[in-house]
Amino acid sequence: MQKIKKYISFFRLRFTMGLQYRAAAAAGVATQFAWGALHILAFHAFYRTDPSAFPMTIEATVNYIWLQQAFLAIFAPWITDNDIFEAIRSGSVSYELCRPVSLYTMWFTRNLSLRFSRVVLRCFPILLVALFLPDGYRLTLPQDLHSFLLFLPSLFLGAFVAASLLVIVYAATFFTLAPQGLRAVVTAASEFLSGFVIPLPFFPDSLRRICEALPFAAIGSTPLRIYSGDLAGQAAYTAFGLQIFWLIALVLCGQLLMRRALRNVTLQGG
């Protein structure tokens, strides 16, 4: 119990720190709102062109985009703790190693708290406004309680998978020492593969099937598709199961990589 408390206080510390940036959050809300609106307008234009080629219903697409903007910070691959990269590069990470905490768990909770503190400030205004827009652009409530109940844990799982993926990037920085390149590649790939550019159902079928099995889909795609009713019944449960599978796999991978990295860590200078 004592052990868990430690990490909870890490979480609380970072969380309250994140809550300080309220002006930034207000600006972020406006940005994300405009971003979402433009996306939806573009999808409407495609819908007008050929409604029969649309792989989701238009309502589901609109819901998908609003939720994506509202919960962006939970899934966004670019939310990283820059202090950690700096610590690894400069060697001050050695102080962290002296502390009686598991580095993996600490970094994991830090990333998670960063995500949640941003979302808490940003999601409510976006959701609220989106709920009262004119028809066709409005965020609608989920079709049944069932998919909503599955959506909530799925959302949290998405955040966990995102955090576990990032700790792997942190750990890999021990080997490369220059984070920019690796981080940018991971960001670009996961942004695309988790359906930020266009939702996964809009991919060609064969590619979509591969992407759905990848961990990236478990981050930003599955929860949104469950909410919007695009994934329902058996498919929803399969996707949900995949999320759990990837969380376990990525955590194991990350811990293994971290252990290898720390075994070889050489501190440059004093």
């Binding site: 433009l38 573009a42 220059a178 590649v185």
Partner: protein
């Protein structure tokens, strides 16, 4: 101007010290662009046209916007980190030097890594220009050059505006991203796709459609008279209010003291 080239060569030399890191960043920049291209590709594999624009035409539009955005980013990236320059007092040092401030801020950072994106922009653009069935003639080529020139100017103006806001807020405003990154991300599609109101906003408030939509219509031969050739030049006037805003900011500037 000579000073700018001096800055240019210093940055080029410093980048070349870390070749691997540079190449990786160029590669990742390229990937970011490839993913946004794939987004368009997949959409058109499914729908074929949108609002009367074909795949090639959208690709052409996307290439032009991408190219002008990258050029602007190469030149004016210094403004992007301007908030931290005010924060740490670096700007005070610039003010005491007997040279133009804008030139010095520009000189703090020149992004060569954008070469990756630019390459992609050129590829897309050439591909679409060849296959799009555009009857190339002298006025169209001139229009195209004007579009890129005008686009670069508008993006530079937006970066300048962004930096100007920093004088009043002391921090970067994420809100401005809608106009810089947003214009580039959403400018991939001709603006009429977003409906009339967005088009109006981008004509009268920020003259983005003057370099994108209207001249595009002319080049593609979809209506739009000969006057469209010169619209991008008109749009370049946008730089003037941005510059005035910046001047007001400089005049109002009080150091943060650190």
């Amino acid at each position: 101007m000579k000073l700018y080239f001096k800055y240019f060569s210093i940055h080029l030399k410093s980048v070349m010290q870390y070749k691997v890191s540079f190449l990786l960043t160029v590669f990742s920049q390229l990937m970011l662009t490839v993913t946004s291209f794939l987004g368009i590709h997949f959409m058109f594999a499914r729908f074929h046209t949108v609002e009367g624009f074909t795949y090639n035409e959208v690709l052409f539009c996307c290439g032009v916007v991408l190219l002008s955005f990258c050029l602007a980013e190469c030149i004016a990236r210094g403004f992007d980190t301007f908030a931290s320059m005010i924060g740490n007092g670096e700007f005070d040092r610039i003010l005491v030097r007997p040279r133009n401030e804008i030139l010095q801020v520009l000189g703090t950072r020149i992004e060569f890594t954008r070469v990756g994106r630019m390459l992609m922009g050129i590829v897309m653009f050439v591909y679409a220009a060849n296959r799009g069935g555009i009857p190339w003639d002298v006025p169209r080529v001139i229009t195209l050059l004007f579009m890129i020139l005008g686009g670069t100017t508008i993006f530079c103006g937006l970066f300048l505006l962004y930096a100007g806001f920093c004088f009043f807020t002391l921090e970067g405003l994420e809100f401005m991203n809608i106009f810089t990154d947003g214009m580039y991300q959403h400018g991939r599609y001709p603006l009429s796709v977003y409906g009339k109101r967005v088009l109006q906003f981008c004509t009268y408030i920020i003259p983005f459609s003057l370099v994108q939509y209207y001249p595009l219509m002319y080049v593609l031969g979809k209506g739009g008279g000969t006057y469209c050739i010169f619209l991008p030049l008109l749009a370049m006037l946008f730089l003037i209010p941005c510059w005035i805003f910046w001047r007001v900011g400089v005049r109002k500037y009080t150091s943060t003291g650190s």
